[in-house]
Symmetry: C2
Subunit: 320 residues, 2 copies
């Protein structure tokens, strides 16, 4: 077996939908079943002797918390978005770490798993703060939304004729506060779950103190920053499609196998990838490779094993 | 300065009321202000070169989550109690770690702080499971409570004429699943927040897999177990009174300064300490000392500094 010190570090990013499939209401049984399935998939990486950091989204889960908050804010003091993100780091971290430990026990692999509640620094001067775009929480009537705007200072927006929603900024992640501890734990061979929901967004003041801020950070971009900070070898983004496509959904759709950074930057400039969907994933991997990462992979859980053999997925290879 | 390797480890347990004072509704501002205050208190231990693990309760916070769950369970799938505990490990961990980092920045101490989402093993054969006693969540009418009993299998109980409540088991903690990672992080000099709310209760099956279970674990008893597992030198329990008293609240009330294990066991047998109040704290420290811990201290945040000088608090000294 390869020694711990020599093992490659893989950082694996998965969506909040890995735990709560589209159409599911998000019961605990659904979360547990999905977490068990994704844990089996993660074992492909454990089998290949990678040291692992796992990040995950929390969109549908924080959506449920926002709905609960909205329905009960006359009786329970509402917690701000940064605290709700921290809540999902706790709950999804627990569900996933337990599923991973159980999978390890089943296949008799001795691994420890830890969830680190992660703060991620964003800049107060990020342009995202003057132009909030990310819709969150339940749909409201125009009247309800206007009331929140007045009372709580929300920015609101009509969302595809389904109603009004709060929109929040989605700033760029700059650094993960707990990076050193994550680095030490993953080097020690533990599976580390970190930066759930993209991490809890915080502002760092001149004097070095932090302040939570109501925003959401794209989990793929955070994974890229964390991957760079912990010197990961490969950034793997698990999504809902088996690979990246050119002309996605069109007649001349073409899957991408292995691509260089230069090729991918060209496709990016040509507008092949959708904002809020494949675009941040491609950007995340390009950023990672530009800052010292060796490899990137985009695929879905079903294809991960094949992809690790080079027979599926979109592989980003170094070299310009 | 003392080298990291030689530093003593202190494990400090505080109540959920450290973040949400009695009478407070639990707004984020209240949580942040209280966390900032307790962080200043914690600095007394950092100043004295202790390596620190901090555990905390979550009673009032999980109470708020249970109330939200109760009010919205027709619209959002209710999460079980173990997941709610994990949520508070995330939210309170974030609030406390940020307050601690901010306090360190203010006094220019370079410390890292990490919150570890902690699973704590309890035994399925613990007698607590056949006799649930711990009331949780909102007060209900008898009809509401009976309905939950029928639909969800709750055990319910009338609570001091204020209404009906759900009662859950409060089993003994046996081991902290993430103990190795907590041990490594605290030895490395990081402040570790762990076992929030007493930890997420889990059952360990024959095959080594875990299963979450609806129960609450006393956070002082968990702290005792964790303290033993990470070979802490001192277990400090911060509570609402400056020290332990004999004949508490009576005319002949007497504060205890330094006591031996033998003395304390005598007082315990004489029934001086109240169940659900001082009793588990005294038991927690006695267990810790019996299993290799060196010292124990019970005091309140206001008196901690004096107590560390030996001028306040109740000190448990080794030796029978």
């Amino acid at each position: 077996m390869v020694q711990t010190e020599e093992r490659s570090i893989a950082i694996v990013a998965m969506g909040g939908h890995a735990f709560m499939l589209r159409g599911e209401k998000g019961t605990i049984e659904q979360h547990q079943r999905n977490a068990a399935e994704i844990s089996q998939v993660i074992m492909h990486l454990v089998d290949r002797d990678y040291n692992l950091v796992i990040t995950h989204g929390n969109g549908p889960q924080v959506g449920n918390l926002l709905l609960m908050t909205e329905l009960t804010n006359d009786q329970v003091p509402p917690m701000p978005l940064d605290v709700l993100v921290a809540q999902t780091e706790g709950s999804l971290g627990f569900i996933l770490q337990q599923a991973l430990l159980n999978q390890c026990a089943k296949v008799k692999i001795d691994k420890r798993v830890v969830t680190v509640v992660s703060q991620v620094v964003v800049s107060r001067s990020d342009p995202a703060f003057s132009r909030p775009t990310k819709p969150i929480g339940p749909f409201l009537t125009k009247e309800e939304a206007e009331k929140r705007k007045e009372e709580l200072g929300w920015v609101i927006k009509e969302d595809s004729n389904r109603g009004w929603r709060r929109v929040v900024p989605s700033p760029q992640p700059e650094e993960v506060v707990q990076r050193k501890i994550i680095y030490d734990s993953v080097r020690a061979g533990h599976i580390v779950i970190a930066c759930g929901g993209g991490g809890v967004p915080v502002i760092k003041r001149q004097d070095g103190t932090f302040d939570g801020i109501e925003a959401v950070i794209d989990k793929d971009l955070t994974s890229s920053v964390l991957g760079t900070q912990i010197k990961a070898d490969i950034l793997i983004i698990l999504t809902e499609v088996p690979c990246v496509y050119l002309n996605y959904g069109k007649k001349d759709e073409r899957p991408l196998g292995a691509v260089t950074v230069t090729e991918m930057e060209k496709y990016l400039a040509e507008g092949h990838f959708a904002e809020g969907s494949m675009l941040p994933k491609v950007r995340a991997i390009l950023n990672f490779l530009e800052r010292g990462g060796k490899r990137g992979l985009i695929t879905n859980p079903e294809k991960l094993s094949e992809a690790l053999e080079g027979h599926a997925g979109t592989h980003f290879v170094g070299g310009y």
